[in-house]
């Protein structure tokens, strides 16, 4: 059973659109949820991170976690061509240590066209 599932897309939207990216997870122990952006042949860049359920907003980006349904979302408002990248969701268990491994989804390829 895949622990984190993500629709690989590709997803193509016009500039200015609201983008919704989603993941589901199966491990009930997951408590920390991250979104990374990855440009082609580059390392993942941390965008946002949330703990447990709820929303977190940072500029045009909003991360949402619903632990009851094990659903993770990232919304991008007023999308720009520079947002074109692969978006990775990642999760890790809670606990008292910081060293927990991240489990990644497959990534969704997003293209924002002018």
């Amino acid at each position: 059973q895949k622990e984190v599932e993500q629709d690989p897309g590709p997803l193509s939207v016009p500039e200015g659109a609201i983008v919704s990216l989603n993941c589901t997870y199966s491990n009930s122990a997951f408590q920390y949820f991250m979104w990374y952006r990855q440009y082609s042949r580059k390392g993942p860049e941390l965008l946002m991170y949330t703990y447990s359920s709820g929303n977190k907003e940072d500029g045009r980006f909003t991360a949402q976690v619903d632990k009851s349904s094990k659903y993770i979302s990232l919304f991008i408002r007023d999308s720009q061509p520079s947002d074109s990248a692969t978006y990775l969701c990642a999760s890790r268990p809670g606990g008292g240590t910081s060293y927990g491994k991240l489990t990644f989804g497959q990534g969704t390829i997003l293209t924002v066209h002018p």
Partner: protein, 114 residues
């Protein structure tokens, strides 16, 4: 802004050869990781390292792999006898600890085994 650096950016080696991938984590970070991403696949956890010892390792991280922090700045991944299936992007990441759960990734080393 501090960042994780990795060298080389691309390494080509023959099957059976040893390779060492190098990383310089963000200064003052306490937790270090290696992940890999086979082309078109998910980012996968290999190993985490804290206080000069391995904290956790995945099934992939077998006896052919080893990690070391030889001095106060470098963090290395050694593959003793490379196989064709070791061809992948290898990412180093670091985490500041002290209650922080974010992992910051380097740009990666592309390893090609021929």
């Amino acid at each position: 802004e501090p960042e994780v650096t990795q060298t080389p950016s691309h390494q080509v080696t023959q099957m059976g050869q040893e390779v060492i991938l190098r990383c310089v984590p963000i200064s003052n970070h306490l937790y270090f990781y290696w992940y890999r991403q086979i082309l078109g696949q998910k980012v996968e956890f290999l190993v985490s390292f804290y206080n000069n010892e391995i904290s956790e390792k995945s099934e992939i991280f077998d006896d052919q792999f080893s990690v070391e922090r030889p001095d106060g700045s470098n963090f290395t991944l050694k593959i003793r006898s490379t196989k064709l299936e070791d061809s992948a992007m290898y990412f180093c990441a670091s985490n500041p600890g002290q209650g922080s759960y974010e992992q910051y990734f380097g740009p990666g080393t592309r390893l090609t085994v021929t």
